[in-house]
Amino acid sequence: MLERILVNGLVTSGTYAVLAVGFSLIFGVAKIFNMAHTALYMITAFLIFVGTNQLGFPYALSAVVSVGATIGFGLICYALLFDRVKVHQTAVMIISLAVAMLGQEILLLTLSGHYRGIAPFVTGSIDILGVAVLYQHLFTVLGCLATLFGLWALLTKTNLGKAIRAVAQDSETANLMGINVSRVCLITMGISAGLAAVAAVVAAPLEPLHPGMWMLPLTMILAAVVLGGLGSIKGSVFGAIILGFAETIVVTAVPGGSFLRGAVSLAAMVLVLIARPEGLFGVVFEEERL
């Protein structure tokens, strides 16, 4: 049973982690509570579907174009909507929620509510610790790990990363130090949208595609982000891992209650927050951010 929990827990945690990190990044830097984050994930998944299944393009080409289009869409949303009201966090939250709902309705109108699927680009399975694991799952885990590593390298080893961290810690001082805060926020929005899109590239072939598919992951990443501590990238990853494993333990150990996987994860979040209201890696001092 332990092997199954380990393997399946890693798969579930991986996707949540990439999504949660993207959400946390834009909140940490621009204070944008982007409720449309998982809608970006959904949009990428549907663009890949249209590219591969309706236009007949290869997966790689569809994925690259879809990621580019999603980043573009994220940047437009930021420039036209979020940036103008970002000082009012509640307004940003409501506007981003409206964007997500609008995306859902547009998909319903154009592609209807049919359940669809994208063909996995690797088929078959392998035995790991006696547990059959789909190659696609393995690819998802590796893809998530590579993305998280790439983000870590970007934030810690590059000047852009330093600028992003500086803005996250104190945007006014960063501005005084000559950092173009607006541009950094815009770039961070692009990276955040890109992370949602990459999560779709690696995980969408495992999911049924439908216009409501953004809601469940949104709940889970909100839980992961709050559990880990709002705005903390490290916290988001740990939050995602805890929730991913909590879900898997419920499914494996209590089969009759596997529908409770989400509820148990959220209950775990509530318990942690009661003990530590700022979350596991919550920001008590601004300089700890990111």
Binding site: V11, G113, V131, A132, L134, V251, F259
Partner: protein, 439 residues
């Protein structure tokens, strides 16, 4: 001037004749088709209902005491999958604004219960091609006068569906015994959390004698679960030979895809609503091969009307008809038949005629239970009436595999009932290989 006068007279004559024609064309009967139109069930209600209306109009319409009436469709999006209040408003709009004469539609049991109140308030006859829970018809038993306008022309209710699934289970138990030599196959129960799914599974398991099989566990997933790898791995570890499923939401796709891709050595059977459409093959990347699910019809000769209807739907929509399409199609004909027998559009007269319905439709012989039954106005199920079928995915097609001509579970009248075009059920080849190698 005289020429001008003739033109005026001729114009009046043309106008008069046109008015007469208009008055004749105004003899229409409006059918309201309601369902979640952006989703498969709504589309299929519309497709099935519209096809029947077109056929009836082409054949001369509905005849009432020698007068011809044309059928007209008014559609309404109930959006009931996303919002229950939307369903109630859409129903009210059809009645008050579109002024429909009869209603056909409704999919989920919960919105149907709410929509029944609107129907009762306006006293409109409603044939519902969805909602498999017994509650909507139980309401008639409790308060016939209020809810008598409701008829269920839909899938088997949860009690009958459980019985059909039980026959499906028994057929596969026999197959596992015969091909793998397992005396008491192990069964994993896999359902989404929901009233109808739990009732279906519970009823099916109750119908099959306990000594025939062993339950190794029940996995109840959320309707919107997108990943069931952990569940499938656990089912494999439990040594199940059969997975008895009951799902209606998107979870049906990852279920079949993970099962096929991980080559879980257990037959996947039961009720998978997404698995009833041809789109399922694409959505699962063909991994649903050998999955079995209950359906209303397959491309077999249930009656002489079944295959022509099936082929027309495929030609027109490039989709196979799901249960709700054939239910809506037959519902239109059932209303036409009742109106003609009643010889009137009066609600009480048509209602009385509907209660005496004995109509041979594309899904079988349609009759409704009488008002003193525990489920008044529900469809009579069983051999000789409507039986429904089980279909199995075979290389991109849905093959009908049940009724297979054998009587099981004490239902002797199933002996010899095998619709023309039915094929034998097959266990997945990887399952046979796995269990033979394990010996």
């Amino acid at each position: 001037m005289r020429i001008f006068g003739r033109w005026v007279i001729a114009s009046f004559l043309i106008l008069f004749v046109s008015m007469g024609t208009y008055a004749y064309a105004d003899q229409t009967i409006k059918i309201g088709l309601i369902g979640p139109m952006k989703f498969v069930p709504g589309e299929h209600i519309l497709w099935g209902g519209t096809l029947a209306v077109e056929e009836i109009n082409k054949a001369g319409g509905v005849t009432i005491k020698g007068k011809k009436y044309t059928l007209e469709v008014a559609k309404a999006d109930s959006n009931e999958i996303l919002s229950l209040p939307d369903a109630v408003s859409a129903m009210e709009r059809l009645i008050t604004s579109d002024k429909v004469d009869f209603l056909i539609g409704g999919f989920n049991s919960e919105p149907v219960l709410a929509m029944q109140e609107v129907m009762a308030e306006y006293k409109k006859i409603w044939l519902c091609p969805g909602s498999s829970h017994v509650k909507p018809c139980e309401r008639l038993a409790e308060n016939y006068e209020k809810y008598k306008y409701f008829f269920r022309c839909g899938p088997p209710n949860t009690v009958y569906a459980g019985r059909i699934v039980a026959h499906q289970l028994m057929m596969v138990i026999e197959k596992v015994r015969e091909e793998l030599g397992v005396k008491k196959p192990k069964v994993a129960l896999f359902n989404e959390k929901g009233l109808w799914a739990e009732a279906n599974i519970e009823n099916a398991v109750k119908e099959v004698p306990k000594e025939e099989f062993e339950v190794v566990g029940q996995w109840a997933i959320s309707r919107t679960a997108s990943d069931v790898t952990a569940e499938m791995s656990a089912i494999k570890a439990a040594g199940a030979h059969i997975i008895l499923d009951c799902v209606s939401g998107p979870a049906g796709i990852p279920m079949a895809r993970t099962w096929g891709e991980l080559k879980i050595p257990a037959a996947l059977i039961g009720v998978d609503i997404p698995g009833m459409t041809l789109a399922h093959w694409q959505a699962t990347n063909g991994m649903c091969n050998y999955e079995m699910t209950m359906q209303t019809i397959g491309r077999v000769e249930i009656t002489e009307k079944t295959i022509p209807f099936y082929d027309k739907m495929v030609d027109k929509t490039k989709q196979n008809p799901t249960y709700i399409a054939v239910d809506a199609y037959d519902a239109v004909y059932v209303i036409k038949d009742a109106i003609e027998r009643a010889g009137s559009l009066d609600t009480d007269a048509v209602l009385a005629a509907l209660e005496k319905t004995d109509y041979r439709g594309a899904m079988g012989r349609i009759k409704f239970f009488p008002k003193n039954h525990e489920w008044p106005h529900d469809l009579v199920w069983g051999p000789g009436y409507v039986t429904w079928v089980d279909t199995q995915w075979r290389d991109g097609n849905l093959a009908t595999v049940w009724p297979d001509g054998k009587a099981r579970l004490g239902m002797k009248d199933l002996e010899g009932l095998r619709y023309k075009g039915t094929v034998d059920y097959r266990l997945p080849p990887w399952m046979i290989e796995y269990w033979k190698n394990k010996k």
